[in-house]
Amino acid sequence: MLRRLALRGIALGYLLVILLAPLGMVFYRTFQSGLEPVWQALSDPNTIHAFKVTLIAAAIAVPLNTVFGILCGLAIVRRRFRGKGLLNAFIDLPLAVSPVVIGLCLYLLYGRTGWFGPWLTGHGFQVLFALPAIVLATIFVSVPFVAREVIPTLRELGNEQEQAAATLGANRWQRFWRITLPSIRWAVIYGVVLTTARCLGEYGAVAIVSGRVQGSTETATLRVDDYLNNFNDAGAYAVSLVLATIAVLVLVAMTTIRPREGH
């Protein structure tokens, strides 16, 4: 009995110190100086634009990575080809690599002395220090999530249903749309939730490639940095609070979806 209480105490204490207390602090500190500075920060056009930039990047990255994740999952589980292990490694790589490394890679490709930079800027396309680089960075860091959720689910499901449908005359598209997709529905949704959260929270890669032009190439996370460096603690906490609230909503979504897909 004592041991049980001790273990419980250790676990809860650990969570309190590392996780819960800091989170509580954000909520507290945000409103410490009253509602006015919070409102000012959140209604600042540059802040609103920063959230827009973050959402645009996510709106592009999430669908692309979802389609990629589903196709990838199907290829890895259902098909035979050489280099499967390598493909697996490359999908998982964005999880293991530091975001600043990704930012550096984009810098090397699209900078003024980069591989594609001169050609692109010569033809009027600004990639680095503009929205496209932010989008590319966001896509890179969120590649793995849907794939990693879909793959184990597909493995567990097997493909008997699709085979049965094939003998009954269903073509490839019908089999995919009516059997495969619905059966991995929850895995995909769960993966989309994780992907979205990752896109919204990206900082390291974007910090390198964005150029931090206010009202133009700042993301919500960079905005927090901006407020921190300009004596606007209330602003930094306000934006952090919005991001933290979104995170909590993501958590709720994750918790309700996970039981359904039997994680």
């Binding site: 003024r112 600004q126 496209p132 931090r212 032009v213 206010q214 009202g215 901006d226 460096n229």
Partner: protein
């Protein structure tokens, strides 16, 4: 055919926002790339410019960051029409890349928009009684100054520290040793002057070495502290230039910077005007008094010989004196 669908999708997804962003700029948009601290005063200068005929319909995209990094970003392709940096060295970096005229310093007021001085900020009431440079090297004093490699403000701080040591009679060797002693007291070297000020006002350290203008900006934002301008100190000259590729509005903006209207805005916001006569305005009497703080030395003095020479001696990434000092104290060497 299907093989090209995905790549086409990606390329579209990436380049369409690029094109859209460019199309949105209907009137003239000027890209301002500046050092880390003048955000507040730039807001006012821009508004003032936009109210004049030359500024009608001109919008500004603004980016703030450590002066050295901003210069390198411009060289790496960051869109820029106006560069407002904290020291001539960083303008030379852009000039050497061919983006700005190499004769930028021959322009009106030597290309300088405004001045400041190297100063200290201490806690309210000055509990450690810091009044001069020598108080900074006392044991136990915790100093905050930015990392001199990306930050322009930090470079000014280092040269000011060395300069005052020489002016007080120390030999070259002793002065370098003094600067090393100072850096042994440094507890934080954030990447930019504004990050350093943030760290200090967030509670870190006992004294911040920064621009006098940054101190005033912080106080105006409600931060608590006391400004100490040591004697002697170094004059900080802040250059603003238009890039070669910039639209005509950029040159108009810079010309306007030297007008009495803009210089008075600088004066009222903690920056020392380059057109000193504007301080005669009776409404600026308090500021005139505040800026009357004692002797200053300059980057062009024989002691330093200008930015290029000072940079080679002090901030060269392979052989500069700062490299050795940072290695001696465990500080950043880049």
């Amino acid at each position: 055919m299907r093989r090209f669908l995905f790549p086409a999708l990606i390329i579209t997804a990436v380049l369409v926002p690029a094109g859209a962003a460019q199309a949105r700029r209907a009137g003239t948009n000027l890209n301002l790339v500046a050092f880390s601290t003048p955000k507040a005063v730039m807001g006012k200068l821009i508004a003032s410019f936009q109210s004049k005929p030359a500024g009608q319909g001109v919008t500004f995209s603004q980016s703030y960051g450590p002066s050295g990094s901003q210069a390198k970003a411009i060289v790496a392709g960051q869109p820029a029409d106006i560069a407002f940096l904290s020291n001539g060295l960083d303008i030379n970096t852009i000039a050497n890349a061919g983006l700005v005229s190499k004769n930028w310093a021959n322009g009106p007021q030597d290309g300088i928009a405004a001045n400041s001085v190297v100063a200290f900020v201490v806690r309210p009431g000055n509990p450690l009684h810091i009044h001069s440079w020598s108080d900074l090297v006392k044991p136990g004093v915790k100093v905050v100054t930015p990392d001199p490699f990306p930050s322009g403000g930090a470079k000014w701080n280092v040269l000011a520290a060395y300069g005052q040591a020489r002016k007080s009679g120390m030999s070259n060797k002793k002065a370098i040793a003094w600067v090393t002693k100072l850096f042994k007291n440094v507890v934080a070297q954030p990447t930019s002057a504004s990050a350093a000020a943030s760290a200090f006002f967030g509670g870190e350290g006992d004294v911040l070495i920064t621009y006098e203008s940054e101190a005033y900006t912080a106080f105006a934002a409600g931060k608590q502290g006391k400004l100490i301008v040591p004697k002697p100190t170094m004059l900080i000259q802040l250059p603003m230039v238009a890039l070669k590729s910039a639209p005509p509005a950029a040159a108009a903006f810079i010309k306007f910077i030297h007008s009495p209207v803009q210089q008075k805005i600088f004066a009222r916001n903690g920056y020392r005007p380059v057109i000193k006569s504007v301080l005669k305005d009776p409404s600026l009497a308090t500021w005139k008094h505040k800026y009357n703080t004692g002797p200053t030395f300059r980057i062009r003095d024989k002691l330093f010989g200008g930015w290029n020479k000072a940079n080679t001696v002090w901030f060269d990434p392979a052989h500069g004196r700062m490299l050795q000092i940072e290695q001696a104290v465990g500080g950043p060497t880049s």
